[in-house]
């Protein structure tokens, strides 16, 4: 983890911020954001408990086994309101609405269950140039009784004036090739379904009409859904101590069909999603390994 040059200001919340409110505030204050520095602020929400009904909805929608074990990606859902709240604040240099989720990495230190009470914190780090604009990392950390059990790093791109000489990040492995191991037909309402279980009601995911206002011809699937669905297809390994890294490529338009490709030849499993019958359109590549 990169440490901030000056001590973090810690802001402790008593309840999870309401995402529709946060999104509305972020949209209203999108214009005029600028600057080269990130707020030195850690947003924390202690004592987060898992609502079983929401967990079942999430597990069902993403294809995980319905039960007590938290999926690899679930703490991200619990921490996402903090991410959004941090980015909606006035001192955050980039506008939340319009950021492109480019990469995500997750480390699960131990298997988590619905009985665990999580202390979640979020901070922003590494504002840096990219050939197509600027990148920022939002780091989410979850502790149980003072022990770090889960961490996630979400990398977002703000499109703008790029820097062709920008230092590249960790390169993605090549997309697995060959025959699809599964074909998934994603319904038109998938974005609304995932929005209701995750709280992520970003308009680009909800409906073709709201997506059009953001410059997309149709609604696009949440990256965190395609990521979770792919991990679920890889089996239970990700719920134990494990690490994953996903690189998002082209958006998945809804409704649509995607193909899953898996390469298990190495201990680090590589999986990819591409458009059904259009192999050249790649949606994501991810890696998963046990720790």
């Amino acid at each position: 983890m990169t440490s901030a040059p000056v001590p973090m200001e810690v802001e402790t919340l008593r309840s999870a911020p309401s995402l529709p409110t946060v999104f509305a505030r972020a949209a209203a204050t999108a214009r005029g954001r600028s600057g080269d520095s990130l707020p030195h602020r850690l947003l924390e929400l202690p004592g987060v408990t898992v609502e079983r009904g929401r967990l079942v909805d999430y597990q069902r929608l993403c294809g995980f086994a319905v039960g007590d074990v938290l999926p690899h990606t679930y703490p991200h859902v619990l921490g996402f309101p903090l991410q959004a709240a941090l980015m909606a604040k006035g001192d955050f240099p980039l506008p939340l609405v319009g950021l492109v989720h480019l990469e995500n990495a997750i480390t699960v230190q131990r298997q988590l269950t619905a009985d665990d009470t999580l202390d979640i914190s979020v901070s922003a780090t590494r504002l840096r140039p990219h050939p197509k604009g600027r990148l920022v990392d939002l780091v989410t950390e979850a502790d149980v009784a003072g022990e770090r059990v889960w961490e996630g790093r979400s990398t977002y791109l703000h499109r703008g004036r790029g820097d062709a000489s920008a230092e590249p990040g960790i390169p993605a492995p090549p997309m697995p090739q060959g025959q699809a191991s599964a074909v998934w037909r994603l319904p038109e309402g998938l974005g609304r379904s995932y929005g209701s279980v995750s709280g992520d009601v970003n308009p680009i995911h909800l409906h073709a009409l709201t997506a059009r206002t953001m410059g997309f011809r149709r609604a696009i699937a949440h990256g965190m859904w395609t990521y979770a669905r792919t991990l679920a297809a890889l089996g239970g390994q990700g719920s134990g101590p494990s690490a994953s890294h996903v690189w998002f490529r082209k958006p998945v338009f809804l409704p649509g069909s995607v193909e899953l490709l898996v390469d298990r030849s190495q201990p680090r499993v590589v999986a990819g999603l591409r458009a059904h019958r259009k192999a050249e359109i790649e949606h994501l590549v991810l890696t998963l390994e046990a720790r």
Binding site: R52, G53, V56, A65, V66, G67, D68, G235, G236
Partner: protein
Amino acid sequence: MTQTRRAAIIGGNRIPFARQNGAYARASDQDMLTATLEGLVARYGLAGERMGEVVAGAVLKHSRDFNLTRETVLGSSLSPATPAYDVQQACGTGLEAAILVANKIALGQVESGIAGGVDTASDAPIAVSEGLRETLLKLNRAKTPQERAKAALGLRPGHLLPAIPQNVEPRTGLSMGEHMAQTAERWGITREAMDELAVASHQNLARAYDEGFFDDLMTSYMGLSKDANLRPDSSLEKLAKLKPVFGDREHGTMTAGNSTPLTDGASLVLLGSDEWAAEHSLPVLAHLVDAETAAVDYVHGDEGLLMAPAYALPRVLERNNMRLQDFDFLEIHEAFAATVLSTLKAWEDEEFCRERLGLDQPIGAIDRSRLNVNGSSLAAGHPFAATGGRIVASLAKMLHAKGKGSRGLISICAAGGQGVMAILEAA
């Protein structure tokens, strides 16, 4: 001909049983069976293991779950090279599955297997009405617009009502409880005797929990760590207040307290050859000695729906040269308190044993302190196909604690006038 061997019962796992629309209201059969299998895999270190087979079933099953057990295996950490199939024999499903796996082990066809069952009364399959189904099929067969229009015109508003599964015998239209009420009346089973059996079931199950009996037989699920139906403070006074729900609604004897409630849950048993168990450093609790499934003509004949186990017993006793009184433990599934009591009374009845079972002497009474000693379905609940696995794993553990050579009998009645019976012997 291969020499046969006795299959070993190594252990088991179940999730606590939940009442209908309770903690597992939104869990599917596959979800519960997967959680149960993963618990078993974790307890016995079977991750990545290619088992000989996994056999399980469910009574209330969606048509999409045609390959329920195989799908469960694929979603588990067992080797995906483990074959699986579904069986269905109403409430006998779980025990019959264990017998099937044990027989393959006995014949040397497999070295190891997992058997059991799951049921949900909450996430029940709801079908379209017969009228709508027929109309849709006609529409599908229609080739011309005229035929399609004609087929569509056959639709009636009433067809839109869904068909909800019912706990009713297709040939008699009577619910299982109504059938049982008839049998209970015939055998003169009193309300007091039923309530006493129900109280004993709750007290025995509560004591078993207190003693930690289920610690290595269960994994918690969806926030439940004990059977939700268990009432440790159940008493004759409390049960006496309940109104009859089957048979005569005023003077009847069967209440919600002495009948099993609709329940959700799953159970699995781990079986293997002695050699397989030794290779995997796993304990052998008991062996499956013999099994017998009987069926009675409750439709045209003069026999009660749930009386088939009474007929299975003399056959399995004769084959094994045993008496009922030789068993150290008797596990008679409590579909209703009246089921257990009618069966016991029939075995004591000289005329029944002579006329129906063809015996010279009655089978005789049992020592009630050996009956369902760690509780049974009245207290635990009864997710139909999950009951067999619950009993096999519990009885194997009890016999192992009792000592080598001790024997136990399992008796489970099932819809359709069937009854499954098995004998276990401590290893």
